[in-house]
C-alpha cells in the first residue's frame, strides 16, 4: 500500500482491464415505491466517486442494494462477477466493503481485535480456536494509514467519533475490500477531522474504488474526483465536480429543495 504517489482521478487511474464495478439498471422496489430506479454507475479502480443528492434521493439505498442488504433488480457486476442475488457476507468476501451512517465498530473490543476480526473472514476453524499469535503485517500497515497505531489496545468504545470512523475505514482496508462504499463518513466530524478524513480517502483511493455518500458540499468539492447526482431514485447527472455544478438539472434539484438549497451546490 503505497501512499499518495498515485492520486485518484476521474474515470480511474489504471486504464481499462482493471478492477471495476458496473451497476446497470439497478432498481429497488419497496412495495410499489421505487426508492431507486434504473440507476447506472460505472466505477474504475482509482476513482473517488461522490454520490450526492437531496434527502430521500436513494443514495444509501443504492449502497444497501449493492451490498445485498435490500433486494434489487438489475445488475451489479464487479470485475466479471455478478453480485446481485448473493448474500451479504458473500458480497463482502468478493471485496465490497461498506460503512454505515453511524459508526458501528465493536465497542467492547479493542482496536486490534476489531481489525483482526475484519481481516479474518475465511479463517479455518483451527485458526479461529486459537489465540491471535501477533499483529498481522496488514493490520500494522492499516493502523499506520488510519493513524491509530498508538491506540491499538484501547477498547473501540473510548475512541473519539472521528477515530471510530477511521477505524471502520481501517477495517475495510484489512478486509481487503477494493470497492469501498462509505455512507456519510464525515457526518458529525470537526473541521480538522474532515480534512484528515479527506486526505485519508485520497491516500487509499488511489488503489481502490471509493464511493462516498455525502451531504457536505465543501467536502465533496475538496476531495471528489467524480460525482454522481441522484434525485428521486434516479441518476440526473454524472461527471466531474465542475461539470455537475454547471448542470442546470442539478441546480434545479438543489434549488428546488429548501433544505439542501440553503447549503447550495455552486
Amino acid at each position: 500500500m503505497t501512499t499518495s504517489e498515485v492520486e485518484p482521478v476521474a474515470g480511474g487511474n489504471v486504464g481499462m482491464g482493471t478492477e471495476y464495478l458496473e451497476v446497470r439498471g439497478l432498481t429497488v422496489d419497496f412495495d410499489g415505491f421505487k426508492a431507486v430506479s434504473d440507476v447506472d454507475l460505472t466505477l474504475f479502480q482509482g476513482d473517488l466517486r461522490f454520490l450526492i443528492g437531496p434527502n430521500g434521493a436513494g443514495k444509501t439505498t443504492v449502497i444497501d442494494a449493492i451490498t445485498g442488504l435490500v433486494p434489487a433488480t438489475g445488475s451489479v457486476n464487479k470485475s466479471g462477477v455478478e453480485l446481485l442475488g448473493k448474500k451479504v457476507h458473500q458480497i463482502a468476501r468478493h471485496g465490497v466493503g461498506r460503512t454505515f451512517q453511524t459508526a458501528s465498530v465493536f465497542e467492547q473490543l479493542t482496536v486490534l481485535q476489531n481489525l483482526d476480526i475484519a481481516a479474518g473472514a475465511g479463517r479455518s476453524a483451527w485458526t479461529l480456536l486459537r489465540r491471535r499469535p501477533g499483529v498481522l503485517p496488514a493490520i500494522e500497515e492499516a493502523l499506520d494509514i488510519i493513524g491509530l497505531t498508538g491506540l491499538i489496545d484501547k477498547p473501540a468504545g473510548v475512541l473519539a467519533h472521528g477515530q471510530k470512523q477511521w477505524l471502520e475505514i481501517g477495517m475495510l482496508l484489512v478486509q481487503n475490500a477494493d470497492v469501498l462504499l462509505l455512507d456519510e463518513p464525515v457526518a458529525g466530524m470537526s473541521h480538522e477531522e474532515r480534512e484528515e478524513t479527506g486526505n485519508l480517502l485520497r491516500r487509499i483511493g488511489a488503489e481502490r474504488t471509493v464511493v462516498v455518500v455525502e451531504h457536505d458540499m465543501d467536502f465533496m468539492r475538496a476531495f471528489a474526483t467524480s460525482v454522481t447526482v441522484l434525485a428521486r431514485g434516479q441518476v440526473i447527472a454524472d461527471g466531474s465536480v465542475a461539470e455537475v455544478q454547471a448542470n442546470p438539472k442539478v441546480q434545479e434539484v438543489y434549488l428546488g429543495t429548501a433544505a439542501a438549497g440553503a447549503e447550495g451546490i455552486s
Binding site: Q108, N114, G120, R123, L129, D153, V158, A160
Partner: protein, 374 residues
Amino acid sequence: MRSLAGRWQTWAGFGVAAVVLFAAAPAVLSDFRLSLLGKFLCFAIVAVGIGLAWGRGGMLVLGQGVFFGLGGYMMGMHLKIADAQLSKQPVPDFMQIAGVRKLPAYWEPFASPAFTLLAIVVVPTAIAAALGFGVFKRRVKGAYFAILSQALAAALAILLAGQTSVGGSNGLNNFRTFFGFALKGPANKRMLYFIAAAVLLIVVAVVRQLMYSRYGELLVAVRDGEERVRFLGYDPANIKVVAYTVAALFASIAGALFAPIVGFIAPSQVGILPSIVFLIGVAIGGRTTLLGPVLGAIGVAWAQSLFSERFPSEWTYAQGLLFIVVVGFFPAGLAGLGALVKRWRRAEVTPPPEPELAAAADPDPDAEKVGAQS
C-alpha cells in the same frame, strides 16, 4: 498481550479450584453435603455453557432443560437397564409394575454403556446444531429465540410426562448401580462427586480457551453487531451455532451426571422452571465472565437448599426478587460489582471522570443487546 504473569495466574487459579474441589470440600463436608455439592456442580456445568451462549454470544437460552433432560434421561435409561440385568429381569422395575414384559425398541441400544456415553455427547450436539442452523440462518434472534427455546423445553417436559415408557411424570429413579458400582456406598458417591468436579474444571478450561481465542472475540462481535459482522464477510449463524451447540453439550453432560448423583431424572428437571433457574445463577454471577456463572449457579443452588428447608415459599419470592434486582440494576452480575466499585474509586480520585471512559469500563453489554435485539 497476556503476559507470563497472566498465564501463571491462570494455572494458580485452576490449582486453587482443584484443591478446593478435590481436597478441601471432601475433608470438610459430610457425605450428604458433598453429594449436594455434586448436584450444584452439575448446575454449574450447565451455567458455564449458558455463560458462553448468553453472556458472550447474546443468545438468551431459556431452554437448556431440554439438553439437560436429554443427557439425564439417556443416562437414566442405561442405569435402569443395567439394574434390571443385575436382578435378572427383562425390564426395569417400573415397567414391571406397569405390566410391560418386553423392553421398548428405543431402549435397547442403551443397554450398552459405550453407546450410552456416545449418545449423551452426540444426540444433543446434533439436535442443537440442526436447530441452531434452522433458527440462526433464518435470523431468528432476541426475544423470539428466547421464546422458541423456552417453548421447546415446555414441549419436551409435557412429552416426557406423557410417556409411560420413561416413567411418566415420576421420571426415572431408584438407580442402584453406576457402571457396576453400587450407588449406596459412600466411596462410590464420592467418586461421582469427583467426576462432576473434574468435568467442571474441564468445561471451564474449554470455555476459557474459546473466550480468549479469535473465535471468542468474533462471538462478542456477533453479539454486539451481528449485521456488521455480516458485512465483514462472515455468516453469523455459523458462529452462533458453535456456541449454542457447546452449551447444549455441556447441559447434556451435566444432566447425565445429575441422574446418578441425585438419584432421579424427571420432567420436573426439564421444563421451563428449571431452565429459568439455570439462568438466574448465571445472571447473578455475571454472565459475561468465565467464573461468574459457575459461582452464581453454585451460590444460588446452595442458598436455595439452605433457605427452602426453612422458608420454602419465601425463598421463591426472594429468588424472583434477586433476579429482578440483578437484571435491573446490576446487569453484569456480582462479577460486575467489582468493576463498578473500581470505577467509583477511580471517580473519587480523579474528580472529572471522562464520560467515554466510564462508558467503556462497563463490562456489560446493554441489556437490550442480549434480550431485545431486533
